[in-house]
Symmetry: C2
Subunit: 228 residues, 2 copies
């Protein structure tokens, strides 16, 4: 369906999306501030003016690279999250997918946006605002799914879905941070399994599978005692 009509003029040497893929990878590994335009042009095999004619600026390239890379993953993850599965199961698969990272070989695990541009120089405030907005959007997506679960009777009506969404958002951020430190996806999935025990509709798994000798766990909290 794509007509390969060659326009007049010299053809591009670098495909636009290939460039975004390369940029996305670099930005992910080194962060926005840790990636120089020289790094980018070198990795793409182009010269600076080509980068600027193709993408406008470093910041604009970052926007495009994020959109390119995130939208592709978000499509898959939204499909998982908004499926007809029970919410708990959808959430589990959603988190597992993030633990596995992109399908491509040796891509960084975790979510590209979760830990992007947190602390930053003042001059990069606008980039930080963008990534913060993307994170907030992710949380709102989770919240919407949880609200649906409440509507459909999967969760108690008094469930604080906003906090629950921010909790699992924090899990994604923690996972992604630990992935930066080298955690493998197996370890991340164990972490997810713990996080899922906080699911309000979930019965607590039998802590002693067989031969339960009932080790009388004392309910520790004296709610309200807050003094140090």
């Amino acid at each position: 369906m794509e007509k390969p009509v060659r326009k007049r003029g010299r053809p591009r040497a670098l495909d636009h999306d290939v460039g975004l893929e390369i940029a996305s990878r670099l930005f992910w590994e080194r962060g926005y501030e840790g990636t120089s335009t020289a790094d980018l042009t070198k990795a793409m095999g182009i010269n600076p003016p080509t980068l600027y004619s193709m993408f406008g600026s470093k910041e604009e390239l970052y926007r495009q690279a994020l959109e390119f890379s995130v939208s592709r993953e978000n499509r898959r993850r939204l499909e998982i999250l908004q499926s007809s599965r029970p919410t708990y199961e959808a959430l589990r698969l959603y988190l597992y997918d993030i633990a596995d990272g992109d399908t491509q070989p040796d891509r960084p695990r975790g979510c590209m946006v979760a830990t992007a541009v947190l602390q930053h120089a003042e001059e990069n405030a606008s980039v930080a605002r963008m990534t913060a907005a993307l994170r907030e959007a992710s949380i709102q997506t989770l919240k919407a799914r949880f609200d649906r679960a409440v509507d459909e009777g999967e969760l108690p009506v008094q469930t604080d879905t906003d906090t629950l969404a921010r909790f699992y958002g924090a899990i994604v951020q923690g996972m992604s941070a630990q992935a930066c430190d080298g955690a493998c996806n197996t370890r991340l999935k164990r972490l997810i399994d713990v996080a899922l025990t906080a699911w309000p509709g979930k019965e607590r798994p039998p802590e002693t599978a067989v031969g339960d000798n009932a080790p009388s766990v004392q309910p520790v909290s004296i709610a309200g005692s807050h003094e140090l």
Copy 2:
């Protein structure tokens, strides 16, 4: 005991610890790569050579600033965590302390180390290794406390304390990331309350609701909203 003996030579215009405090604050807000030596010297009111004679280099200053600031907070938090309180309660207070951040006015919430130097330029790999090591040490501290809880019968013997520690480490990282995006400590504490429902020794009231004489402990306490 401190002899204010003036040594020979011109006296220092800037106190060493005051410099570290200022540096720590700047590094926390802007990150290692986002803070320039010009930012630092300007904030300290000194000239570049003074910075280098006092602290050696930017990287060395970062090390010292982290050690100065973190060790102070860690002392307080270790005291909370390793107290004779039940582990669940100690953990809750530990996390609440991180949500509150430093006692000083308008300091960033969360943990300074949790989200420090995750993605980075290759030239800053050694700094990233240092912060990663500090994060791992924090997790090992949590794990040690949880192991103690197992020894003392607070947790089932088969508890995976390593994963549990990495889970609450992830909570700290997620909290700190959301603090960077502007979350207040009240919101962070609500998040903590959810995370605490993943505690293995914790009963779950809404569903299980044992009809014993047990006074139905509320794990998701509303006690998270103390001061704004």
